[in-house]
């Protein structure tokens, strides 16, 4: 692996000389590695906080509605991080990621509701099913590369959407979706009063995905994946098989998405066909690119922010403030996807590194502000 080590070192641009440490900066460098842990603890204690944040959330932080929204944001943060294992870290543009998520959702839902299995049996089956599906489809789709790969994964995901929509065998409930039969669930996951348990489950899922993705990308395998992203031929020349590494990344990413699907099913207690649509994969791509592909926290933040905005923009679009605007403004603003799509396009042009690169980009600006303490 030493070859790869030096290769990746030469690739990274020489960092600028560190500015002379001011007391505040020294504290920051000490604190920085612990920030994710601090954030985790804060998120863990959210269900105990009776805090009102007017304008951001409708009710107090620990009201079931707000917790549900936060939990959805956490799940999507995890999904985006798992998708980034493909897009940002391996350079594979898959347009079929919704399929593995949907496999987790519909797998769990069907096994519990139709087959009557308890959750602790249904969830592993759904997970293994999602992983197998990802491995099989990856094995075929990886015969192509680049843009063709994107189209092929999209086509396979479309099969999932058709299967769900046509309701073969009466399993999926077609357009109506399939409400979850909660009688098979453990009592602590059922009911509005237990939303905080689901919230912690979503937080655990996000933590698991982040842990797995970071462990993989800092392992030797992760270096190979980064090498595949930068120059696939170089990996081939080193005597490693690109196909096998890409398949591993694809399967792992699909499995993480299926796991997210299991949490999502419990969270919204049911499955609806819109999660199989290609729009979901495109949204994942938007989340990752908005957050910053291949960065440590960018995709997580992008996913959470996207979900939050998607949710809030729907409320915002139907609010009286928007309806008071003239028609040519209020009509587009009532569509969250219009706003998000436009933001996304602007981000591609003006913030190629996403939110994660924002700090670096604003750095020069901050230095322009005269430091009063000096």
């Amino acid at each position: 692996m030493t070859d790869l080590d030096t290769a990746s070192k030469t690739d990274t641009p020489a960092t600028a000389a560190p500015p002379e440490p001011t007391p505040a900066r020294r504290w920051w460098t000490l604190l920085r590695p612990w920030l994710p842990l601090v954030a985790l603890v804060v998120f863990l204690f959210v269900p105990y906080l009776r805090l009102e944040i007017p304008g951001i959330f409708d009710g107090p932080l620990n009201s079931p509605g707000t917790l549900q929204l936060l939990a959805l944001c956490l799940v999507y943060g995890g999904l985006a991080a798992g998708y980034d294992l493909l897009y940002g870290r391996t350079g594979m543009l898959s347009f079929g990621h919704a399929l593995y998520f949907a496999a987790g959702v519909y797998g769990t839902d069907i096994l519990i509701t139709k087959a009557g299995l308890p959750l602790w049996q249904a969830a592993p089956f759904a997970l293994v099913g999602g992983a197998t599906l990802a491995a099989l489809i990856g094995a075929i789709a990886l015969r192509t590369a680049g843009i063709a790969f994107a189209m092929v994964t999209l086509a396979f995901a479309q099969v999932g959407a058709i299967l769900v929509a046509r309701d073969f065998g009466g399993l999926t409930g077609g357009e109506e979706g399939l409400p979850l039969d909660v009688s098979g669930l453990p009592a602590f996951f059922v009911g509005v009063a237990n939303t905080y348990n689901l919230y912690w489950l979503a937080l655990a899922y996000l933590a698991l995905v982040v842990f797995v993705v970071h462990r993989v990308s800092s392992s030797p395998t992760g270096r190979v994946l980064a090498g595949l992203r930068d120059d696939e031929r170089r990996i081939g020349v080193l005597g490693l098989d690109p196909y096998r590494f890409k398949l591993v990344a694809f399967t792992l990413s699909g499995t993480l998405a299926a796991a997210g699907g299991i949490v999502y099913t419990l969270l919204v207690s049911g499955a609806s066909p819109h999660i199989t649509s290609s729009e979901l994969t495109l949204s994942l791509l938007v989340m990752v690119v908005l957050g910053g592909p291949g960065t440590r926290w960018g995709p997580v933040i992008g996913g959470m922010l996207y979900m939050y905005l998607d949710h809030r923009l729907t409320a915002f679009g139907t609010s009286s403030a928007v309806e008071a605007l003239p028609g040519f403004l209020s009509a587009p603003l009532s569509q969250p996807l219009f706003v998000l799509g436009t933001v996304f396009i602007l981000a591609v042009y003006f913030f190629p590194g996403g939110l994660a690169s924002l700090a670096g980009r604003l750095g020069p600006l901050l230095r322009l502000i005269p430091n009063r303490r000096r």
Partner: protein, 296 residues
């Protein structure tokens, strides 16, 4: 027997629709390496512009010459949008392929949402000339005229495209550019002009597909472009990127397969068979039936 003829001709009508969408997609992909997600939007723009023109444009209507005018307006709108997209959005990201794809993804999301905001999510009845609602008797099968219209239009577009690619100077540049873009650039030819041209052609074909597809389905809805686009992607991959002839063969195969299996099997099974066909083609010939090679 008449059932088989009917299924063949309606299947070919569907093939014609796929070909109209896929030909532009394939050329843009072959030349500029851009997977154009906004292509479905061009189709929707064509459909909605035709629909709007038939009701509002003086002289245009649902019948006779008025309908031709409405379709011409729709195609012109498709071309205008396609050229604007290329000039404003694709060109600044020249040679950054992934970013180009991302921008078209954003545009497809925002554009469909905009159509939905303007005219609602529900399908709107499409103005159809009286004669397209009738049927023609072919060897005992009663074939809807709208399907025949699509087939005639697709054959005309295919012939025009092949003639353009084969006999004109710009066609030569495009063919050469699909083959090897760097080499053409090195010879001092501005490939970017060809990009704009190919986008305009693709936009026109997609808008025509939108207008005639509206006649075929009898309605327009904002999401129509997106669902057709996925099958057009499959056609492009099976046909081989950048090959117009390959797209035509693949479109015929996909349309016929879909129609026959959907009729003799369960509805929806045909769509799945199409993806199975894609998997088989990829396993046997990853570069598609015509490869990324000559366009004519």
């Amino acid at each position: 027997m008449s059932t088989v003829i009917l299924l063949t001709l309606t299947g070919l009508g569907l093939s014609a629709l796929y070909f109209l969408v896929a030909s532009g997609l394939s050329l843009v992909f072959g030349l500029a390496d851009v997977l154009n997600f906004a292509h479905g939007l061009f189709l929707s723009v064509g459909a909605y512009a035709t629909w709007w023109a038939a009701g509002n444009l003086p002289g245009a209507g649902a019948d006779g010459f008025g309908f031709v005018l409405a379709v011409a307006f729709g195609v012109a709108a498709g071309v205008a949008v396609a050229v604007l997209v290329e000039l404003i959005m694709i060109r600044p990201l020249y040679s950054r392929t992934i970013e180009q794809v991302l921008v078209t993804v954003g545009l497809s999301l925002a554009g469909v949402a905009l159509l939905q905001a303007s005219w609602g999510a529900d399908p709107r009845p499409f103005p159809r000339p009286q004669w397209t609602q009738g049927v023609t008797s072919v060897l005992g099968a009663k074939v809807p005229n709208s399907g025949l219209l699509l087939i005639v239009a697709a054959v005309a577009v295919l012939a025009a495209l092949l003639a353009f690619l084969r006999y004109t100077r710009y066609g030569l540049v495009i063919r050469a550019g699909v083959e090897n873009r760097e080499m053409v650039t090195a010879l001092g030819i501005d490939v970017r002009k060809a990009f704009t041209l190919v986008f305009a052609i693709g936009g026109a074909a997609a808008a025509l597909a939108g207008a005639l597809g509206g006649v075929y389905f009898g309605s327009v809805s904002p999401s129509q472009g997106g669902s057709l686009l996925i099958f057009a992607f499959i056609v492009v991959v099976i046909g081989g990127m950048g090959s117009v002839v390959g797209s035509a063969y693949a479109a015929v195969a996909v349309g016929l397969l879909q129609q026959f299996v959907n009729y003799y099997g369960t509805s929806g099974l045909g769509d799945i068979c199409v993806v199975a066909l894609l998997a088989i083609v990829l396993l046997l010939r990853p570069q598609g039936i015509a490869g990324k090679a000559a366009t004519a």
